[in-house]
């Protein structure tokens, strides 16, 4: 049965959980489909993750390969396809614990960067798993800064081949997933040289392992890069190339080609490369950042409704820890953020789809804005969600530290998202570059992209709020965020200008302003997130109590941001000291209000127990029983440890003579 402490939380929900779930999914039909897919996967014992926390790196890797292979069979059985509506739900069900994720990137890069002939040659082989692909971009010495990559591909006119080399240790490919043990092929990014001239980074398909016995091809040194914080199931690999020759046709040549005589031809816009990155950055937000935060909130909030500790009132039962203000202050802002970012993901997705349609019509105008937004939001959302998951972990006290809580693995996984697909600080600075440029343009009356037109609008000097209830008005707080973003962007732009005018070189001036620039970029994204949340709430019908609770969450998200960044709002007196006390009061009031719906709000995310894989976060709240039973299954309790016979026994029996 369900733990009564959790059951009582559900009885008092102010809204329909089922309806909220359907709305989050984009309709009841989607919910039905998602549940069917998740159930089919979870019912299949091959996909079980129950033993995951007990397994070694080797065992995790093997299980991931087994699952990846089994998934092919399963998809065939179920009639699911890569392009079908079920596909994104498969990802959710297997929770990333599967091999060959890079195989998909391998295919995607060929589809995007390859010519029609290349697509016709490689894609059927890849979809049939006649080969297993990886994507080798990052090197030991260089990551986000792609121009710095050192692998070389020299065109040999006589044999019509490229000769690939790893000229020094820092040029070794390092980190690509599936490459350490599984991949037979990989797309290698290398500096292209033709007739002694360097043409920059280009992609080449390189075979690295034999299709017969899986041994390494001549000239290839490859292996696993060793244990990491997480992703034990993935064989992130290294790759060293020694005079490896590939035919001219193996350079992906939709946009650039080396002709037989060595003539280099560029087709189309280079900007399209940005578009691939943009698409990846946007696509990771939902699955890699928001979903883990939702899971962490589910675990921590359910557990906080079950765990009782100390007494709030003498003579009464010990209180649920969720009733402590400090606990609410840790968890509820994270819950609000999970919702805020779910909606910002919708916003970005829509923007992206629109941009994609334009690009297909050869209109690249929206690209700079899209690139800036995707970089900034990737950085802001991954950073925010990462710290949110960590807060949830620590809010679960000692039990959060057990792997069986599910939280450590959520955390160690999500933190990688702050680095991959562009290191966050660098991404924020890219956004900042766009913002400064837009600000300059706007202040000289030129037209700017829609998301930054606010930079030109005239602003009131003071926040008009008169009491704490005024701060529950989206117009009031959205304007405060807007004001703050404009101030940070304009003051940074002014400082940059000053430095240059006083004789500093442009790049020096830039470096001296980078701390402020990164802050300004974050402020911009924070503002857009608040604004989008408020607009989303406004568009909702007031049915089923959903709008009301979403409005509370939106208020909480906004006021939490002001409360925890008070200085930037107080700085020019836009918000006064007395108003800041009102913000704090309203913010703390909201915690108590949302507290009542906290459990239904995480239930609405609709994660199954199996996908949470947590002793603390199960739907039925039988926390302690489950923790105890699961721990007893630990191999440390089943196998006899050699330590006793080898070390403990002599220690316990023989010591007197030695000491």
């Amino acid at each position: 049965g369900v733990n009564p402490d959790l059951a009582s939380e559900r009885q008092t929900a102010s809204f329909s959980v089922e309806k909220l779930t359907a709305w989050l999914d984009g309709g009841a039909e989607q919910t039905r489909l998602r549940r069917a897919v998740v159930e089919a996967i979870e019912r299949d014992p091959v996909f079980s993750r129950e033993n995951q926390y007990f397994q070694s790196q080797n065992e995790r890797y093997e299980a991931a390969v087994r699952k990846a292979v089994h998934l092919q069979k399963k998809m065939h059985e179920m009639g699911w396809s890569q392009d079908g509506p079920e596909f994104k739900y498969i990802d959710r069900a297997v929770a990333g614990d599967i091999a060959f994720l890079l195989h998909r990137i391998f295919m995607r890069s060929i589809l995007m960067l390859g010519s029609n002939e290349q697509i016709a040659k490689w894609i059927p082989l890849a979809s049939q798993y006649q080969l297993i692909g990886s994507y080798a971009q990052t090197e030991l010495g260089h990551g986000t800064y792609l121009q710095g990559l050192e692998t070389t591909a020299v065109f040999d006119v006589t044999t019509q081949e490229f000769i690939l080399n790893t000229p020094k240790i820092s040029a070794m490919k390092w980190w690509p997933g599936d490459m350490g043990r599984s991949a037979t092929h990989t797309v290698v990014f290398a500096q292209l040289y033709v007739h002694g001239k360097c043409y920059g980074i280009h992609p080449f398909i390189v075979q690295i392992r034999s299709l017969q016995d899986h041994s390494l091809c001549p000239g290839i040194i490859a292996g696993d890069i060793g244990p990491k914080m997480n992703f034990e199931h993935i064989d992130n690999g290294y790759l060293m190339l020694q005079n490896v020759r590939v035919p001219r046709e193996n350079m992906l040549n939709k946009f650039c080609e080396v002709q037989p005589d060595g003539t280099y031809v560029r087709r189309g816009s280079q900007k399209i490369n940005y578009f691939t990155m943009t698409s990846v950055r946007i696509s990771l937000i939902s699955g890699e950042a928001v979903a883990p935060l939702m899971k962490a909130c589910t675990i921590a909030i359910r557990y906080s409704a079950v765990r009782r500790q100390s007494k709030l009132k003498p003579g009464e039962q010990e209180a649920k820890i969720l009733d402590y203000q400090t606990q609410q202050e840790k968890l509820l802002p994270q819950l609000a953020a999970a919702y805020a970012f779910h909606f910002i993901n919708d916003y970005l997705q829509e923007l992206f789809d629109r941009g994609y349609r334009e690009i297909q019509r050869k209109n690249f105008d929206a690209l700079p804005e899209l690139h800036a937004l995707s970089s900034g939001f990737k950085a802001m959302v991954t950073q925010y969600c990462t710290s949110g998951v960590e807060i949830c972990l620590r809010a679960c006290g000692g039990h959060g530290y057990s792997l069986l809580s599910g939280l450590p693995s959520l955390y160690t996984k999500i933190i990688a998202s702050c680095i991959y697909e562009g290191e966050n600080t660098i991404l924020l600075l890219q956004t900042a570059r766009f913002l400064v440029k837009s600000f300059m343009a706007a202040s000289t009356g030129q037209s700017v992209p829609p998301s930054v037109t606010y930079l030109a609008a005239a602003k009131p000097r003071k926040c008009p709020a008169k009491n704490k209830l005024d701060f529950l008005s989206p117009a009031i707080y959205t304007e405060a965020y807007q004001h703050m973003a404009v101030r940070l962007i304009s003051s940074t732009a002014a400082k940059l200008q000053d430095l240059i005018q006083s004789g500093a070189k442009k790049h020096d001036a830039w470096n001296q302003c980078t701390v402020q620039l990164a802050q300004a970029a974050k402020a911009h994204c924070h503002y857009i997130t608040v604004k989008n949340f408020a607009e989303t709430v406004e568009k909702l019908e007031s049915k089923a109590g959903i709008q009301k609770i979403m409005k509370h969450l939106c208020d909480l998200f906004a006021l939490h941001g002001i409360f925890s960044n008070a200085g930037v709002f107080l700085h020019d007196g836009y918000i006064s000291g007395a108003q800041m006390d009102m913000v704090t009061a309203s913010y703390l009031d909201l915690l108590a209000i949302i507290r009542k719906d906290a459990v239904p709000l995480v239930d609405a995310f609709d994660f199954t127990d199996k996908s949470l894989n947590s002793a603390l976060g199960c739907y039925d709240g039988q926390v302690y029983q489950r923790l105890y039973e699961w721990a007893r299954k630990s191999p440390t309790n089943k196998q006899v440890s050699p330590a006793y016979e080898k070390y403990l026994k002599p220690l316990l029996h023989n010591t007197r003579s030695k000491i």
């Binding site: 080797n58 710095g148 240790i169 043990r181 060793g226 008070a566 440390t636 006793y644 000491i659």
Partner: protein, 666 residues
């Protein structure tokens, strides 16, 4: 020879330092002689083949446990063989042997033996101490249960006295009462000191400690009535067998209750202890260790991140020039140098608390407990403040190392997972902050009623003068000079006073509106935590500033003054709201503070590597490929990776088992 092999960037960095790192090392160690002795002990361990082993990153959990227990048993024997008995020297030896990681005998050495010494009667010491000293008895300290941690009164294990047999009957009456987490309990120990609610003559007398045998001497099998095991895998602490313990009508003789203070007589009569404040002492001591641990763990992470940032080159700052060291980027400096300053600040705070404890514990033994409440409140808050900051700081260091920080070869993941539970153990941090707040509010109330308070809270005395005018406490103007640490201490003081007063007033307002004290306290707890944080922050800035005047070498003093200024100013720039709202600093001053922080980054830049070298972590202890002293990072990453378990065979068995059959079928 070492110099020849050194990475050119690091060599340049070290040559450009403006001070001698050794001198700073001596200050951190507490004198040149202490440094010499520390290195001597370090050499004993490093040169001992018994303590060498494979890289732990490649071992499974049970292999790690096995290594740890092997080293622990050798460690105990060698400590005695070498005659190392000073607690600090034991600590060094142990942390070199285990490379900063926990080990299965931690609880035996750190809790079981000391508890016997302080709480056992002479008769009990005769029975248990020597066997435990000789490791025939290996014990642990079983306090935390599944259902309760920091809130001790909630523990549910019972010990019911049976006068007929003169025994205590121990029971775990619920699932939540199962002992959970004690280190060394799962597999290693054969005894445990169990904390249980004592029932005698039908009454509950609260928590008491009992010595409980749990495994058969000889076979090491659990005794009848005892269910014991390992609680499974954790975030870190792989080498520790944290355990569970369930007792079903398990009987122990009356003499197994630790009876130096409280007693149960044969007929079941309960004799109360004289004072319950004494247990404070142990808590203060252990929490003060965590403050030092925060400093050391953060120092290790800073050492790795700063050395690596001096070796790694990336992108371009100036067009056409070679790629710069990433340490030259302002954003990178902004991530790392405030943490470096924090690590130094925490070192000095840790040393201060240790000294204060040592001083006061003399008084305690003579029955003078007057200073204990303040020290207790201060260490609770500082334990929370420093462990939270270090916890986040270690992660920032790791993130500053980009992708490679994520690899276990960086060593930072291990530092993090080992350190992060200190936010929870020995008192959950939020609860600790609220304990400090209780003391602050009490002091504030005393001042309001006209009494004077002493010690670190004496700034609250200024409030009484403010009473005359009905103005906000901090509305008086503090003229803050942002280049003067002493003046910044005043600014932090004003902020603490303002937040303590605000929290106390809000608490009073809640009390005026509501019935229960507990409710009012709960509804103010976010404010109360903020007040405690501000108080702790003030104490740290104050202690760091005070340390500067003790330093005789001018070059060292100069560089530490820069760090102290950075620590204080960065703290302001991260909490500008508090300083602005209280009117302590103006908008213009905040802008200056932000600017000054960036100038200091550029100044500290030239000494950054020397400042982490001064922490003097040996490569073996650091356990990081990225943080190597010689800076030869990339070659060694490759060497390290080749040893990965996945690389044991050229073709992984998964190929034959799964990949090949699939390819054949499709």
């Amino acid at each position: 020879k070492r110099r020849m092999m050194m990475n050119a960037d690091l060599r340049r960095e070290r040559a450009a330092a403006t001070f001698q790192p050794e001198l700073l090392t001596h200050i951190l160690d507490g004198g040149a002689e202490r440094t010499r002795r520390r290195k001597e002990i370090e050499a004993l361990v490093l040169n001992d083949p018994d303590f060498q082993h494979e890289d732990l990153n490649f071992l499974s959990r049970s292999q790690r446990y096995e290594q740890a227990i092997r080293k622990s048993s050798l460690m105990v024997m060698k400590l005695r063989e070498y005659g190392i008995a000073d607690p600090e020297e034991i600590y060094w030896f142990k942390s070199f042997v285990h490379r900063g990681r926990p080990e299965p005998l931690d609880l035996h050495l750190g809790m079981f033996l000391p508890t016997l010494l302080t709480q056992a009667t002479p008769e009990q010491q005769d029975r248990f101490f020597m066997p435990a000293w000789n490791l025939e008895i290996i014990g642990t300290y079983a306090q935390t249960e599944m259902g309760h941690g920091t809130h001790l009164r909630g523990l549910e294990t019972t010990a019911t006295y049976d006068p007929a047999t003169q025994e205590f009957i121990l029971n775990s009456p619920t699932v939540t009462s199962i002992k959970w987490w004690p280190g060394g309990l799962g597999k290693t120990s054969n005894h445990a000191i169990v904390l249980a609610q004592l029932y005698t003559q039908g009454q509950c007398k609260g928590l008491h400690a009992f010595i409980v045998p749990i495994r058969q001497l000889g076979t090491h099998e659990p005794l009848p009535g005892i269910t014991v095991g390992d609680i499974g895998p954790k975030f870190g602490y792989d080498e520790m067998d944290n355990g569970y313990l369930k007792m079903d009508n398990f009987r122990i003789p009356r003499e197994n209750m630790l009876m130096k203070y409280a007693q149960v007589e044969p007929d079941g009569t309960y004799v109360k202890p004289l004072s319950d404040k004494l247990t404070y002492g142990t808590m203060v001591f252990i929490r003060s260790l965590i403050v030092g641990d925060s400093a050391r763990s953060l120092s290790r992470a800073c050492t790795i991140a700063i050395r690596y940032s001096a070796v790694r080159h990336q992108s371009e700052l100036k067009p056409g020039e070679p790629e710069p060291q990433i340490l030259d980027y302002q954003t990178q400096q902004y991530k790392l140098f405030p943490l470096l300053a924090t690590a130094y600040a925490f070192h000095f705070v840790g040393a201060y608390i240790k000294d204060t404890y040592r001083r006061i514990s003399g008084d305690i033994n003579e029955g003078d407990l007057s200073e204990l409440p303040e020290l207790h409140a201060l260490t609770a808050g500082l334990k929370a403040f420093t462990s939270w900051t270090a916890n986040a700081g270690i992660e920032e260091c790791r993130m500053a190392c980009g992708g490679h920080g994520y690899s276990r070869c960086s060593g930072i993941p291990d530092i993090y997972v080992t350190f992060t539970p200190s936010c929870t153990y020995e008192g959950e941090n939020t609860v600790m902050m609220l304990q400090t707040a209780r003391f602050l509010v009490k002091s504030y109330t005393q001042v309001s009623s006209g009494q004077r308070v002493t010690g670190m809270v004496s700034y609250l005395n200024d409030l009484s003068r403010q009473r005359i005018q009905p103005q906000h406490v901090a509305a008086r103007t503090v003229t803050v000079r942002i280049n003067d640490p002493v003046s910044l201490v005043e600014a932090y003081k004003a902020r603490a006073a303002r937040l303590v007063e605000a929290a106390a007033k809000n608490l009073q307002a809640e009390l005026n509106h509501r019935k229960s004290k507990e409710d009012a306290w709960n509804r103010t707890s976010v404010d109360l935590v903020r007040a405690s944080e501000a108080h702790c922050h003030y104490v740290i800035v104050k202690l760091f500033t005070a340390k500067l005047s003790e330093i005789s070498n001018a070059a060292v003093r100069a560089v530490l003054t820069e760090l102290c200024l950075l620590y204080a100013l960065y703290g302001i720039s991260k909490n500008t709201g508090d300083f602005l709202q209280a009117g302590i600093l103006t908008d213009a001053q905040i802008t200056q503070v932000n600017q000054r922080v960036k100038e200091l980054l550029a100044i500290i830049r030239r000494n950054a590597v020397a400042l982490v070298d001064s922490f003097d972590f040996h490569d073996v202890h650091l356990g990081s490929v990225l943080g190597r002293y010689d800076g030869n990072v990339y070659e060694n990453m490759f060497e390290w990776a080749k040893k990965s378990p996945l690389n044991k065979t050229e073709v992984h068995e998964s190929f034959h088992k799964h990949l090949k059959p699939m390819q054949a079928k499709l």
